[in-house]
Amino acid sequence: METLIKEAESIQKQQTQRVSGSDALLLSLIEEKVSTIFGYPGGAIMPIYDKLMDYKKQLKHILTRHEQGAVHAAQGFARVSGKTGVCFATSGPGATNLITGIADAFMDSTPIVCITGQVGSHLIGSDAFQETDVVGISMPVTKWNYQVTRADEIPEAIAKAFYIAKSGRPGPVLIDITKDAMLQDFDFAYKPCDYIRSYIPRPLIKEEQLNRAAQLINEAKKPFALIGQGVILGGAEKELLAFLEKTGMPFACTLLGLGAIPNNHPQHMGMLGMHGHAAPNIKTNDCDLLIGIGMRFDDRVTGKVSKYARQAKIIHFELDKAEINKIIKVDAYVNGNVKESLPAVTAKVIKNKHQSWIDEFKLIRRDEEKRVIQKEINPEGNKISMGEVLRIINTIVHGDAIFVTDVGQHQMIASRYFDFKNTRSWVTSGGLGTMGFGLPAAMGAQFGAPDKTVIMVAGDGGFQMTLQELGTIAYNRLPVKMIVLNNNYLGMVRQWQELFFDERYSATPISSPDFPKLASSYGIAGEMVKERTGLQAAIQRMLDFDGPYLLEVKVVNKGNVFPMIPQGAAVNEVLFGDEQAIK
């Protein structure tokens, strides 16, 4: 008996090892298969940075030039790789510099784990140097957060952090660790987390919900599906395709759903939303059944809610119960991961075709093609348009690239004109619309997908918000292809001023440095294009270049993105930009 106990104890001993809190953190990250960390050091997190030197083989730390860069990089990394992004920051200003990215990840359901250093536990609450209540500050924008004050809490906190960030509807988690906890020694053992009793990441799908949904689908004459990022987060692209091809219904993507199914699919009717394609927006108010799949009826998608799809029955396939009936009251819903619910409902629906219904969309598409698209991608004027840059990129990469954007007109143009082909190939800030997101997110995306071509487009305004990350890109020789579409304006805001504020351009003209020259001071190659004649060749040079490259394109100053559903208008009240009232 005694020997048995001894044996059990010695087994236990073998499984634990006496280490510091800092070691425990890094070992826990290794257990979670983390390989890349984006971060920035400072006083309160120095013990962890010190220990990083001992784990160089397993953990690659990327020093960004700002903590906002670190968190956006972690987001970009997560979005393309499907893994959880990780970033480090010190207490106080380091931690507060993460907040924008955390809020962005919260809105766009991106799994990231942020580790912040905190002052020693004996100093907490004393307004110590660089003490800030980051747990309190980040609470509204994290899925979960926790302050560790003892080393022995670290393995469990990290295990929970990764489980929560990635499971269910993903989101950001923040773990704040006091400096003394990093320095304490304790017996470390790691056990991944797969269960928290108060948390249900995978609701069991109810048969009666599936039956109700299937019945509505089978009865519909003019069904229409809205595809959101939930499909990509759930890894349910194949399941979605099977569902759509069996039912034969037309579908469109939200901004973040783009790429879930290639653009060239015959049932793909384009993008929804304020600057989406006219047909899916107009047809939302004409279908008899609207099916939201892994999307959340954001106001940029719905327009005026009281005039949204009033004629239709609505079904919502959604994992997050809190999203169901939040904005739009539905007639049926299936609460669960679409990876499971889609095959289950596919089995219950009849094989169908909706060709003449799809042709109705195509009629509108042809109108949009004439009135908007051709003018944008093959412009008549001398000035280069944003759309023609996208058209040329498409002819070279054919969708085989990861596309990252900043926020503004260029973002909407990219979402409208990039030829999406692959899932997880599109990184843009949707829910928060964070200017400054593009460059650091592209950097993270390149680390997350080292073998892919990463193309970033940014505006002259947003690029200047985080351009210090050129330093990180140069240092790491990251072959990111950066395009700055320079219109000398905060273009999207200027467009609203033109349309809704009597052309009073308050604080929207913006000056910039010579971006290629700036890049060259970082040792990054690049060039500027002002004339159409040199554009194609310049884009080709950029894409052929081995290494990072910055291409600045001077584009038309007062271009507008159309179609547009003005704020407060119904989804079918689409402006094409050639209406008399606008002119």
Partner: protein, 187 residues
């Protein structure tokens, strides 16, 4: 499709069961702040199940808001379950304490009548002050407050609401068992 209703304000009592974790109260109240909702009353205590805490929160809003609110609260990782209940679904009480100068009570002979009428009781009496206690709904404790005003109320305090449901039993223990069962099935 029907429109979501934004009018019809009403009083709702929320009961929230949670794990006992630091900061959770903050996580719960954030959901009110975010919607600019005022918390009318708040009580927190351990429930019948050891380690499980129960929050009782009163809020005035419309049906759509409370439905969303409850789902957002239940979504918090450490929240086990959250419900909202209307007036007719619960029994509830609040307790109020009134501190009055003893001398002013001695000058009158109405005190016995008031105590009787309001079903209140005297908790403590010293030469300087007297503390009266009453349990009841807010309207009742408020009425007594007004009745006592002429005698000079030096201090007055009313507790948050405690509530028990009429319709359902506290079935949380069954729910917890079901969770464990489903988890065991899954693994």
């Amino acid at each position: 499709m029907t429109n979501i209703e934004f009018t019809n304000y009403q009083e709702y009592t929320l009961t929230i069961f949670s794990e006992n974790s630091i900061g959770l109260l903050n996580r719960i109240t954030i959901n009110f702040t975010k919607r600019k909702l005022n918390i009318e009353s708040l009580t927190v205590s351990e429930s019948a199940i050891k380690g499980v805490f129960k929050f009782t929160i009163v809020v005035i809003c419309n049906q759509h808001t409370v439905e969303n609110l409850i789902k957002q609260i239940e979504k918090q990782i450490d929240v086990l379950r959250a419900f909202y209940l209307t007036q007719d679904e619960i029994l509830h009480q609040e307790i109020a304490l009134y501190k009055i100068e003893t001398a002013s009570l001695l000058d009158t002979n109405e005190i016995e009548g008031i105590i009787r009428q309001y079903n209140a009781r005297i908790l403590e009496m010293t030469r300087e002050y007297t503390v009266i206690e009453k349990t009841g709904h807010k309207a009742e404790t408020q009425e007594l407050f007004e009745k006592l005003q002429p005698y000079g109320v030096m201090q007055f305090v009313r507790s948050g609401r405690v509530a028990i449901t009429r319709l359902k039993k506290e079935l949380l223990s069954n729910y917890l068992k079901k969770l464990e069962r489903e988890h065991n099935q899954a693994v």
